[in-house]
Point group: C2
Chain length 350, copies 2
DNA sequence: CTGTTAGCGCATTCAG
DNA sequence: CTGAATGCGCTAACAG
């Protein structure tokens, strides 16, 4: 680190140039209090000439606001999160806030450190995809009394506003559809169920199986940490079962590449030999050959709701007193060509 | 906007609790100057008990730094940019900076407004995918003397550090490959060439065609604004030429979905009836059927170089005096199954 | 209508 | 080794 040398043109410079005082300049620039139209002109002119940009940092320090919202997400490599971040960014910009973005890598330690950093930057509010959402971490947030809304995943005790997708219902609907098509052995590939979104998707699957009167086969359920290889590994295992499934439900888009690769490797024909459906829709699902069925969720809607909820809390003290709410965003089942009736023949790849 | 009510525990609170002065607390917390080991213990204890987080905003105001880096990109919907943003985010976190992210939507007006906002937030540096990179916009940046590196695209006169991909060479290599396979009519679908990255890709294409001794056919070149529909429209046009191309070079991943959809719609067989290659690799290119050839570029490498360059400038005054540099990141040609020798037969879809 | 002044939370002289 | 005082750039009283 080294000495700073940049010098910013401040309110004082403008005041001098306009032949008035800082207070007046502040007033016209913020259009607050009284001032003569004539002074206004002079100030504006000086502002223009000096190419003055107010220091939001100093302004905020004074007003106890930072015009900044933190967004804490697992990463920016999954379309699931980037779509979210993009929508949120748009909305916040429109509302006059800047976005402070950090990724947690789903690492609770990093998450907590980043949270502290953000608090240090005096964020006005936080949009958060919590990693574990444990009491301790939520405590440090609540203790600062920073408005916060948890998205996609919930925190322990639902102690903050929360907006999630209908994970259980969406998952149930997807599996139900496969069941109606006649599938009786449906593989489930999901992510770490210590995250409640993943857990709910697994529950949705289980419930559908159970409601259909089928016996649950634990070997059909593959739960692991979502890495780029997990989809492949799990698919591989499913394919090598004594009685392989006739359909696979991928509980996250991040799993799909691996699934596709392994299916391709074994030349498993979709959907003839294996039906497929995924939670969360991706662009290439449409023109994949065959197109892939999916549970579609609206990232825009979750973003809108989250931002609305957060801004309410930030901009109104009464609102900020209300107890946390829990909302969920509905889904849509997009049935495409990857889900059809099960194969009659024996699996060719065994 | 409403009155703030949150109260932050400050240095003074810690000082009181530790029975010392703010100056001393500041010293031990920053490990600067002298202080007794014993005092240190007391201070640390108080810090812990009060769960104190220093206000980086106030600290920065004093030190004329903000511990904040701005990242200005077109959007977060294209894997091209999100991969970049993700890598940058990682690197900056590691270096102790927070990321202020905004998207320009490739709108120069929005871009300039956002730039001003960021300057208002006193960013220590800026990583920037400029929209047009016009003199005026660069001026407002330079006038503030904010270290900046332009990535992916260049600004007018290369007045700031710049890191780009080898757009021309990569494009040339891709087309060259198609030519060597025997293609003589190669369609080009690209984005707005007022961005120099797009322009260079077009130039690379043109040069390859010319070097091969082929006559350029302007109708084979489709240049438009990249929207989700542009790939479809352009492909549609190419398919309906009197003599359609036997191969298509998509100059951006954002174009591919449209291309794929249209090809599917007309049941054009890839690669038998149409070869395909794309600038920038995507995950689904691998397991698409057939897999798709691509010019692969390393988002990590461009991120690393950009961050390194920026941090140098920020953390060393001498470095910050050196003239702007222009670097380019090399590419790799990934030949997969979508590029083969041209069809012999007449196009079936006409 | 306008100018002066007092902090916001902190790091940093400068005296002890 | 430590504490009191100053100011970063700005807004919000408070007097004119």
């Amino acid at each position: 680190m080294t000495p700073p040398d940049r010098k910013r043109t401040g309110l004082r410079d403008v005041a001098t140039a306009a032949g008035t005082s800082v207070a007046t300049v502040s007033r016209v620039l913020n259009n607050t209090g009284y001032f003569a139209e004539q002074t206004r002109a002079r100030v504006l002119k000086a502002t223009e000439e000096l190419n003055y940009n107010p220091s939001l940092r100093a302004k905020g320090l004074r007003q106890k606001r930072s015009f900044t919202i933190g967004l804490l997400i697992p990463n920016l490599l999954n379309a699931y999160y980037t779509a979210l971040a993009d929508a949120i960014s748009q909305l916040l910009t429109k509302a006059g806030y800047q976005l402070l973005l950090s990724s947690t890598r789903d690492d609770p330690v990093l998450e907590q450190a980043t949270l502290r950093q953000m608090i240090g930057h005096d964020i006005d509010g936080l949009l958060w995809v919590p990693t574990v959402g444990d009491r301790k971490t939520v405590d440090i947030l609540l203790s600062q009394n920073i408005p916060c809304v948890s998205i996609v995943r919930r925190v322990e005790g639902d102690r903050v506003d929360t907006i999630v997708f209908e994970d259980l219902a969406g998952s149930y609907a997807a599996v139900k559809n496969l069941l109606l098509l006649g599938h009786e052995r449906i593989g489930f590939i999901g992510g770490d169920i210590s995250y409640n979104s993943n857990n709910d998707r697994w529950l949705g699957y289980s419930k559908a199986i159970k409601d259909a009167g089928l016996e649950a086969d634990a070997d059909l359920v593959k739960i692991g940490t979502v890495r780029d290889t997990w989809g492949s590994i799990a698919t591989d295992q499913l394919l090598h079962m004594k009685v392989p499934p006739t359909a696979i439900f991928a509980a996250s888009n991040a799993i799909m590449p691996g699934v596709m690769k392994m299916l391709l490797q074994y030349q498993v024909a979709i959907p003839k030999e294996m039906s497929l459906i995924c939670f969360d829709d991706l662009d290439w699902f449409t023109f994949s050959n065959p197109s892939i069925s999916a549970v579609s969720i609206s990232h825009e809607r979750i973003a809108e709701s989250a931002v609305a909820l957060l801004l309410q809390r930030i901009e109104s003290p009464e609102e900020n007193k209300r107890p946390p709410v829990l909302m969920s965003i509905s889904f849509e089942l997009l049935l495409r060509k990857s889900s059809v009736a099960p194969r009659r023949s024996l699996p060719h790849w065994k």
